[in-house]
Chain length 356, copies 2
């Protein structure tokens, strides 16, 4: 018998990723080989297929692995709410249910983001005092990484949501990037007081009021994004999604452009081979597998969204991050701050009503 | 005597750029050397200094150059509205006044963007049927350039403003990028119908209704930004500003990173030297001097905003673009479409009032 789990196992959605169930099982093997004290993994997917793949991976004697049967998969192009209604037996939903029922502590999934956000919000529910979850990817910058949130879970955000993002992002940053007192920046179209749209102006005022809970650096603009002036960048899910994807698109176009130019001429090609260490370093720095997934912060339980095209390294790293947030009790830590900050927000609201 | 100007001279703000008045005069010399049929340049700045610099540049016999005295300069960090009130004799304002009074057709300025937007809007006024101007930089992508608007002039936009941006951007694209039927995309957090915030949802509906006036491709997401799927990307000034600057920040961080890595090792350095043609091509592609400036579209007159750090090539190219939009009558062409489209927008509004 394996020792009784102290923190609880992690549910891994074995379907829905572009690389298929076999890659997920390989990731689980890698996780057992790499991570210390991994307590347990529940693989959620087609039972017979999983049994076979576990055997292929030589994991049939690993007592910490169990299987939870799910027969359906939500496709990448399916509409979130519709998919939730129509595919009751989807692996993603059954994995989330394991957390809802307290049988697992966290979910790792490479599936459809929209469905994951919708299912997470509806089935796990936001934590007390929080209305909407936020997707919090880790991004590479000049010297070190930073956290961007929200990257798309909540495209129509209120100031209060962004304040919660600042608190959640701050706690997550401490755990995952090991930065003791992370600097928080609010993304705007300029750094001067008064810059931004109505959402930014009111969020900025609220963030200044809760300086006891976060290390608020103030407004930042796009130009400061990749220069490591702050460790956590807070924005609404619309802006965050557009910026994140635009940057991905820029990097990929630049890479295509360089590849094409290098091939045009043998001298350039030789030069590129000699300096390939540089490119490799750059690729390492930009490698999104390193942190594996972005958590959906602010729910009653942990959901780690890994990229649809995740390979075993990315999935293993998402399992690692899931394990870390579970062990460090991210939600419990954040919950206390959220409750206190909400009291300040309520007081501010009453004050502004009295004044106006 | 020079022949009577057919299109009117261009006012060039000789102060306010980081590189100083001398660089602006050098740019003017370059413009006369390079551009065909340049009708006239009015240099706006300190008269004595300008006389001296014109002599140094060997332009004292150039009859197409005149000087308009201005004694003050608006600094890069000054607050827009305040600067307009306090510096009545600022070069930027006097240059704009030349256009307002019909003595010049366009302004080129490297000065403070916020002040330029405020002064342009207040002194030139938006064209008939338009409420707010839009800043429209030209951006490099995988194969060719595209136009992004609004990049920050109007951070709190309405759907109607974005519709006007689509029309203005479409006409500008025809002139400056020589694309006959430019494809227009609306920037959102996903491409499925219904994606986006309230502004995007209503703008998308309106853009579909005016398909006779623009080649509307539909919603695009950040991932498509640099892949040349569309020629004009429409967004509000908050999103546009954040995305534009984030991409600038990303490119500059990547360049810093590569430089540092290359210097770490002599083999890499040698390789980089051999493959430098590739880097040079990339630098060319990313070179913002190529189009020199971003116009502020939608005003009664043309304002070209060149980057604060513009060198003579960038300023010369901004003069070239100014000359092109003047000659092609950008505003007259766009004005007709704006009036027709506004009638469609009014009808849509009445319809929705009747339905609801």
């Amino acid at each position: 018998m394996a020792p009784a789990p102290q923190f609880g196992p992690i549910a891994v959605d074995a379907m829905g990723g572009d690389e298929g169930t076999a890659e997920v099982v390989r990731a689980v093997r890698l996780a057992f080989e790499t991570l210390d004290n991994l307590e347990g993994i529940v693989l959620v997917g087609k039972e017979r297929l999983l049994r076979r793949l576990i055997k292929v991976a030589g994991l049939e004697d690993e007592e910490r692995i169990s299987i939870y049967n799910a027969t359906e998969v939500i496709g990448m192009d399916e509409k979130p709410i519709q998919s939730l209604k129509q595919k009751k037996d989807a692996s993603m939903l059954k994995a989330i249910d394991l957390v809802r029922e307290g049988r697992c502590k966290a979910v790792v999934s490479c599936g459809n983001s929209g469905s994951l956000v919708a299912a997470g919000t509806l089935r796990l529910r936001p934590m007390e005092g929080v209305e909407r979850p936020a997707m919090a990817p880790i991004m590479p910058a000049k010297e070190k990484h930073f956290i961007l949130l929200d990257a798309g879970a909540n495209p129509v955000a209120k100031a209060e949501h962004l304040v919660h993002n600042a608190i959640l992002g701050s706690h997550y940053c401490r755990i995952v990037l090991k930065i003791a007192n992370p600097r928080i920046g609010l993304l705007s179209n300029g750094t001067e007081e008064g810059k931004g749209n109505a959402l930014i102006v009111s969020t900025h005022e609220l963030l200044k009021r809760i300086s006891g809970f976060i290390n608020y650096h103030g407004l930042i603009e796009g130009l400061q994004m990749f220069s490591n002036e702050v460790d956590v960048i807070v924005c609404d899910g619309f802006t965050g999604n557009v910026v994140l994807k635009a940057c991905e698109s820029l990097v990929s176009s630049m890479q295509d452009f360089l590849k094409k130019e290098i091939k045009k001429n043998p001298v350039r090609l030789a030069g590129a081979l000699l300096s390939q260490g540089t490119y490799r370093k750059m690729k390492d720095q930009l490698n999104r597998d390193r942190y594996g997934g972005a958590p959906l912060l602010g729910l009653r339980g942990y959901i780690l969204k890994a990229h649809g095209a995740s390979n075993k390294f990315a999935i293993m790293n998402a399992i690692r991050v899931a394990q870390e947030v579970v062990r460090c009790n991210l939600n419990e830590r954040a919950q206390k701050d959220i409750m206190k900050v909400n009291r300040i927000l309520r007081a501010t609201e009453i004050e502004s009503l009295t004044v106006s």
